[in-house]
Amino acid sequence: QQQVKQSPQSLIVQKGGISIINCAYENTAFDYFPWYQQFPGKGPALLIAIRPDVSEKKEGRFTISFNKSAKQFSLHIMDSQPGDSATYFCAASYTDKLIFGTGTRLQVFP
């Protein structure tokens, strides 16, 4: 019930393409869904987050799509760039703790 399942584990995308990472959860009490981005040698940093009362949130090239009935949410990276190459973690929270997905390593090739 506390798990957040993330897929794929790794993703290779051509520059300019769309990167899509999916997450699913079971606990309907979760009320905050952030995505973190982690570059090698650095700690994760918040990229974008959504509350379950909206179905989509967009910030620049990054969009979260949220499907409350399916208990799924996804990160879309439009016009993917080599600088987007990083590990991405989805997470969910309903208290002061975050439950993280297992991570997706994204590689964007020129």
Binding site: G43, S93, D96, K97
Partner: protein
Amino acid sequence: DVKVTQSSRYLVKRTGEKVFLECVQDMDHENMFWYRQDPGLGLRLIYFSYDVKMKEKGDIPEGYSVSREKKERFSLILESASTNQTSMYLCASWGTGEVRQPQHFGDGTRLSIL
């Protein structure tokens, strides 16, 4: 700017040693967290603290303890290090009352137990 500082980037210790990992935050945050990060397993919560001298077990507390004597400092202790504790350790902090604000992470300590 927000800063969470972990005292060591790399650490090599021997089996059976007592190991201390230190974390300091400069944001006056009440909440601090220790995670370990392993490939394919994501970030798993070891311990967290809501206030000075308070601590709560996370999902994988076995073999670890913590200390929070001052608000800005949260230490992770490996009582008797074992090889299965070789991992990346991440510290994070989070302010109370900041409705769904991000957790701020340090850059991690890569610990190797030989």
